[in-house]
């Protein structure tokens, strides 16, 4: 719509601005994003598709990918449900300390992920503030899949909330009021009026959280113990293989993760249009 308008206003004869600006866009992206991504694909398949496939189907590689997906999944489930709840509470009720809570939820964005990792260790590790009381009972949170989920939750904490909260803020209050005057319970109003309008935000919040969690490295390497075939996630596997000098093996998994995020953001892109059209 806006593109058509500008065409009407500025174009006399041949439009050079359009091809020029598109070329500029691609040229800028080339060295910054496109070429680095391309080099993963070139390197990962450089010694033939057969060794690429072997690298991909190595038992520890498959395990690492599965572990990443499962731990990211649970972190996403938690953070979307929590983000929804937090956005609801923080929009509906005004109370002392409300803004402080909003700021706190956003904090993990700017905290280095390594700090998130050792903060968890300092709390839940066998010598941590709380962990030292759990350890004698045989309860070990750190260096297990639970630790990876906790790290993922911490690191992606603000994402779903950040997408859902603005929708709450701009939501048409009168719809909910109408629902209430028609005798709906709080729960009915939430389920039939509030939630449907949040569909798009929930989906994009979930996909963003999931994508970010799958790629998480800095906190995971500290809390997981990095045991191949047990607590080694896909990013840790890539790092380990790279350090060992097995660059192709590292790249094979990197390709999977790159395609994976491409898929996620394609779904996000398509589903958004579709959900908004509803």
């Amino acid at each position: 719509m806006s593109a058509n308008l500008s065409n009407i206003r500025h174009t006399h004869g041949l439009d050079v601005v359009k091809p020029l600006s598109i070329t500029t866009l691609i040229l800028v992206m080339m060295p910054l994003v496109l070429l680095p991504l391309a080099s993963i694909f070139i390197f990962g398949t450089s010694s033939g598709l057969r060794s690429f496939w072997n690298a991909l189907t190595a038992p520890e590689a498959v395990f690492a990918l599965q572990l990443s997906i499962v731990t990211s999944f649970w972190a996403t489930v938690f953070n979307v449900v929590f983000g929804l709840f937090a956005a609801y509470v923080l929009t509906k009720y005004n109370f002392w300390g409300r803004n402080a809570l909003i700021v706190t939820i956003s904090l993990p964005t700017a905290i280095p992920t390594a700090v998130a990792g050792f903060a968890l260790l300092l709390l839940w590790g066998p010598y941590g503030i709380l962990g030292r009381f759990l350890d004698p009972h045989g309860i070990h949170l750190m260096f297990t899949a639970a630790a990876i989920i906790l790290a993922n939750i911490f690191v992606t904490f603000p994402l779903a909330f950040g997408v859902i909260k603005p929708v709450f803020d701009t939501m048409n209050q009168s719809l909910e009021e109408a629902s209430a005057t028609m005798g709906a319970t709080r729960w009915q109003t939430f389920w039939h009026v509030t939630l449907p309008s949040l569909r798009g935000a929930i989906l994009s919040g979930a996909l963003l959280t999931f994508a970010r969690a799958v790629g998480e490295f800095g906190s995971t390497i500290l809390v997981s113990g990095n045991l191949a075939g047990r607590t080694q996630t896909a990013p840790l596997y890539i790092f380990a293989k790279f350090n060992e000098g097995q660059v192709e093996a590292a790249n094979a998994i990197a390709i999977v993760l790159a395609l994976f995020s491409f898929l996620i953001f394609s779904v996000l892109f398509l589903a958004r249009d579709w959900l908004e059209a509803e």
Partner: protein, 341 residues
């Protein structure tokens, strides 16, 4: 409404599908024992390719077919030690430097009487050498040449890597040793100046010896000081490199320790059997095949024709052991006088 039910159905089936933790590769089955090994970076190949399978076969034969499964993680020696100090479930640790075992003893993870064999806990050794690009374009013949103008050196970070500390001891000790041979006195000023000149040329400090090698292989730097084992592994892979053997250099010696607090009485027999297996002829020969040198029997080392002859070898004992070498050289010389500049 149909749409919603469909969505919920998809959601829950997805939950069931991807919400379950994957089972460990090759896992499953009862009557199986598990040993968790944390090792310093360059131990990986010999352990995974030779030692783990050999021990599992031996145990299987001696214990009615009982399987032993290994889980392992590799990083710089200091990093591994820090992981163990924070509580990773390691049964056995194999370190680059004995100082790391001392740190674990101090924290109560390893008992004072941690070694049981005449080798004092050392499982294998290897000398420190210099790796340069094919043809040695900068004409590097000994450590001192690494301090020449324009040489770019990759050197692991002594904060996380045991190999980096060995390298510092190798360079510093090499100058002491040569000066002692020439004048009868250890020339500490000469050793310090050489180390300073070399450190000026360091362009990257990776976290472990293995990481340093990867960076070098990817084309960074002109030279790398590292374990002879790494140089020979690179030669095996036909990397375009030359190996420069210094006139005087250190033999690094790598200790193994059982992490007492993580080993239950039930697990102890298999864990101890594995540790003791490292000194068996079978394991020592496997180390030699993978370019580590044997510590139990010097004649095993004749089996590897690629081992370099070192003119003036020395060990950490030259500095009075790790308990003196770490504070005297790594801290007082390297950290205080070379790095803080």
């Amino acid at each position: 409404m149909k749409f919603k039910i469909g969505l919920i159905a998809v959601f829950f089936s997805a939950m069931v599908l991807i919400g379950c933790l994957p089972s460990a590769p090759g896992g499953g089955g009862g009557g199986e024992r598990k040993i968790t090994v944390y090792g310093f970076s360059i131990m990986k190949e010999s352990l995974q390719k030779e030692i783990f399978p050999a021990f599992a076969a031996k145990w299987r034969a001696e214990h009615n077919g009982e399987e032993v499964k290994f889980e392992s993680s590799f990083a710089g020696s200091e990093t591994v030690t820090n992981q163990i100090l924070q509580g990773v479930p390691a049964d056995v640790g194999i370190f680059s430097i004995e100082r790391d075992v001392d740190r674990l003893i101090q924290a109560g993870h390893v008992p004072n009487d941690w070694y049981v064999t005449p080798q004092k806990g050392i499982v294998n050794k290897t000398p420190f050498v210099i790796i340069v690009r094919k043809g040695n374009p900068q004409g590097i013949a000994d450590f001192a040449d690494l301090g020449k103008e324009g040489v770019k050196l990759i050197h692991p970070d002594p904060v996380s890597s045991g190999g980096a500390q060995w390298s510092i001891l190798a360079i510093y000790g090499s100058e002491l040793r040569k000066s002692e041979a020439e004048t009868g006195k250890r020339d500490e000023t000469r050793a310090l100046n050489t180390l300073k000149a070399i450190w000026k040329n360091v362009i990257a400090t990776p976290g472990s010896a293995r990481e340093a090698r990867t960076q070098f292989e990817l084309g960074q730097g002109d030279a790398l000081v590292t374990y002879e084992l790494e140089a020979l592994l690179m030669k095996d892979a036909n990397a375009p490199i030359d190996v420069v053997v210094p006139k005087a250099t250190i033999f690094s010696e790598h200790p193994v320790a059982i992490i007492d607090r993580n080993v239950t009485p039930d697990e102890r027999p298999v864990v101890e059997a594995f540790r003791n297996f490292l000194w068996s002829d079978e394991a020592q020969k496997a180390f030699v095949k993978n370019h580590f040198r044997s510590v139990t029997n010097e004649s095993f080392n004749d089996a590897n024709p690629q081992f370099a002859k070192i003119e003036m070898p020395f060990t950490v004992e030259y500095f009075g052991g790790w308990k003196k070498a770490y504070p005297d050289v790594i801290e007082k010389v390297f950290r205080d006088q070379v790095q803080k500049k």
